[in-house]
């Protein structure tokens, strides 16, 4: 059973516009959520995180929004740049999980110049 879902395998946006990547989860025990970015032939790199007690966290061009009642989070990238083209993974950690992360399947973002 997939506990973290990224329903859009891919997303294409124009440079300068907003990119919105979505993630849904089913486990009510998740208390931290993270976004990772992955370029081909490289390991994922951490982008931004949010605690379940917050509804928004911002870091430069990246903002993550959390809607606990809907079990939904989203990553906003404004403005999008061609260098943002990568696979984005949503991940979540549950209380008492020995710090394991549960990852979604990823969304390939393409930012067109």
């Amino acid at each position: 059973d997939q506990q973290v879902k990224q329903n859009s395998p891919s997303l294409s946006v124009q440079e300068g516009r907003i990119s919105i990547l979505n993630c849904d989860y089913t486990n009510s025990m998740f208390d931290y959520f993270l976004w990772y970015k992955k370029y081909p032939a490289e390991g994922p790199t951490f982008l931004i995180s949010i605690s379940s007690i917050k509804d928004k966290n911002e870091d430069g061009r990246f903002t993550v929004f959390l809607n606990k009642s809907a079990k939904h989070l989203s990553l906003h990238i404004v403005p999008s740049q061609p260098g943002d083209s990568a696979v984005y993974f949503c991940a979540a950690s549950a209380v008492g999980s020995n710090y394991k992360l549960t990852f979604g399947k990823g969304t390939l973002l393409t930012v067109n110049p």
């Binding site: 990224q6 395998p9 931290y32 993270l34 032939a41 490289e42 390991g43 994922p44 790199t45 951490f46 995180s49 605690s51 993974f89 950690s93 020995n98 710090y99 394991k100 992360l101 990852f103 979604g104 399947k105 990823g106």
Partner: protein
């Protein structure tokens, strides 16, 4: 800067061979993880370790074993490689503190022929 290194970037092995993938981290992290990444399936946890000589199965441990004799080193062993183990293997380490961020190595692309 946290550094996680993996012994090989690319590896080609024959069916039935015993394969060792090694991972080393330099940040004295307690937790280390092995994942495999396949197209459309995201990151799947194979095994993880939360202390020296301690290990726990992830979501897909079949056909794999691990070894952690020293804190900084975590090895993944394919006892008898099969073609369905052709994949990208990613190692990660984590200090186990909020927000449970994991730091990834560059990955090993393993091809089993």
């Amino acid at each position: 800067d946290v550094k996680v290194t993996q012994s090989s970037r690319y590896l080609v092995k024959r069916t039935g061979e015993k394969v060792f993938l090694e991972c080393v981290q330099d940040m004295d992290h307690e937790n280390m993880f092995w994942y495999r990444q396949d197209p459309g399936l995201g990151l799947r946890l194979i095994y993880f370790s939360y202390d020296v000589k301690m290990k726990e199965k992830g979501d897909i441990p079949e056909g794999y074993s691990v070894s952690r004799e020293k804190k900084e080193r975590f090895s993944l062993i394919l006892e008898s490689a099969s073609t369905n183990q052709t994949s990208m293997y990613l190692c990660a380490s984590s200090p186990g503190t909020i927000p449970y961020e994991q730091y990834f190595g560059p990955g090993t692309r393993l091809t089993v022929t």
